[in-house]
Symmetry: C3
Subunit: 153 residues, 3 copies
């Protein structure tokens, strides 16, 4: 592959990059919606973490709310998994994969994370959530192996 | 736009990329300074999380320190918002925006995060911090919509 | 440097990028292994965070397990440091550094994070872990300064 061909890999004219940009943005926005999910519970239930946020009863304001804690755990799980996908996925695009392979990697990852969120928040009985996590995790590691092979020393 | 034009988007010769690189690095360093902010309190007040870190009184070492917890919450909020900006911002650069639009997006995001940190750590009365968070959040989502439109299926 | 030269910076043909891709993927996979490290303790010791995960004794399931908490703290420290490296490192590649400089930056960062993990999990006596953290932190800040200089306004 010539340098010119490789260079154009990071362009919306490259179908693989276009797919990456779309799925990467979709899962990032999904992760950011977790902030809103947790915030609306905090506002409605007046449960806070900071003294300056208290409205109304000061003692009840610092109680533990299970829905808020669940939302925060789901958000943290996203933060553990989505940033790795964003970078490994970008490097994977630069290895020049086929559109077919890339489509499936991105689709499976995004699907697994949306499923993970639903399974976490409803919640669905286990091992639903564990499966959602594990499929996404394996997708990243599989792309990572492709990157390591392409860039091997 | 020809492929060659798009390709050169990720170069310091491209004003939009140069701005992205500058603001992305500035907010990342700001986030990393949160580690130092929390660590200096830990060192000075001898408040630790790990038994191997204890110096002096073992019981007091594991007490809850409100400044440390506040610093950690501020850091976590950065981790929830700054990595999404870093990737969505990079993809936004690749959509080929005008320098004018890009400058405002990056400037508003960086400004909102610096303001959020000040509002969190002083703290300023609410809704200062909420505003800082929300403006930054909307900036990312707005850039994300641009990316999704450019890469639409 | 011509635009064409700069453009080819993000290609596996560019030795500096190849090194970045390799080390960035290696530290990301390392970070992701923290999920497995924590999960295996949760499974073996039946310590959970969510009611739907309980197998066996419901009260013991929610107890605090020091190894799990340690693994989570180590994972959080990775999340505070590795995503900044991933972006700052990528921007640093685009500044066109020498292979010699880039190799040392990436090698020292990766080494410091692997050492940090070992020092955290064993644990090694302090200041081992603090040193691992601090060396990695300085590496990122040093690369960030290079990026800010290259993109200065």
């Amino acid at each position: 592959m010539s340098t010119d061909d490789q260079v154009s890999l990071l362009s919306f004219d490259n179908e693989v990059f276009r797919l990456y940009a779309w799925y990467a943005t979709a899962v990032t926005v999904k992760m950011m919606l977790m902030s809103i999910y947790v915030s609306q519970y905090r506002l409605r239930r007046k449960v806070v973490e900071n003294p300056e946020d208290v409205r109304g009863d000061k003692v009840k304001a610092f109680r533990r709310d299970e829905d808020i804690e669940r939302g925060r755990r789901c958000h943290r799980n996203d933060m553990e998994n989505i940033p790795p996908f964003l970078i490994v996925g970008l490097l994977y695009v630069l290895t020049g994969p086929t559109v077919y392979n890339a489509t499936w990697y991105f689709r499976v990852f995004a699907g697994s994370r949306f499923f993970h969120t639903v399974a976490y928040l409803l919640p669905l009985p286990q091992p639903s959530r564990a499966l959602g996590f594990f499929v996404g995790w394996c997708t990243i590691v599989s792309m990572a192996i492709n990157v390591l092979k392409t860039g091997q020393m």
